[in-house]
Amino acid sequence: MFGNYKEIVKISRSSFAISHNTTQILLIPEKIFIKLLETREEIKILLYHQLLINVNKLGHKFEVLNFESANKRFVSYLIRMSDIYNSTIINATVEEIGQNISTTRQTIHKMIKTLTEINLIEKKYSKIRILDKEKLITLRDNLN
């Protein structure tokens, strides 16, 4: 979920989004969305669920400020995204990951190469698939 729910959560939001690929979106006028929120419990749960995901992502951004190495930040990012979306596939370009963990594309390319060589991940286009999450977690815990 994205868009203009600043009237609900009182947070100033951005004004547009860009489709990454062919994308289907249910664009609900804000007034109708607010009415749904007032009358339907499941819509409240939907909003809370989205806000929790956002908080989780922001939490990760704060962790980045924890002065961990870029390698550790990258491995942590993969694990966290996998946890958030309950999937072993991470949909993100190298550029997006770089913005998320505050490092360069070159560093991420190097890490992807290293992790691919030891069969922990594989990368296809803008998708990274985690092949062995347990080993990835162990690696994260052992990185500085």
Partner: protein
Amino acid sequence: MTTTEELIKKTVDNLVKEFPSFLKTFTKNQYIFYDFNDFHYVGIVIKGRVIEKLISKHGEEKTYLNYR
């Protein structure tokens, strides 16, 4: 799938059935405006992925959050 995920999926499925005219398809790299003039929208991604952008005071575009 956990109970919460099932509930979220069911809620979104019901919203699509209830408001079929609100369902829009965007091709790659299309701009989706949701906050301009008197029009304000909440977008629920059904299929695909969007990247929300933050515009700084200086007009600079920054990726904010990704949604699937």
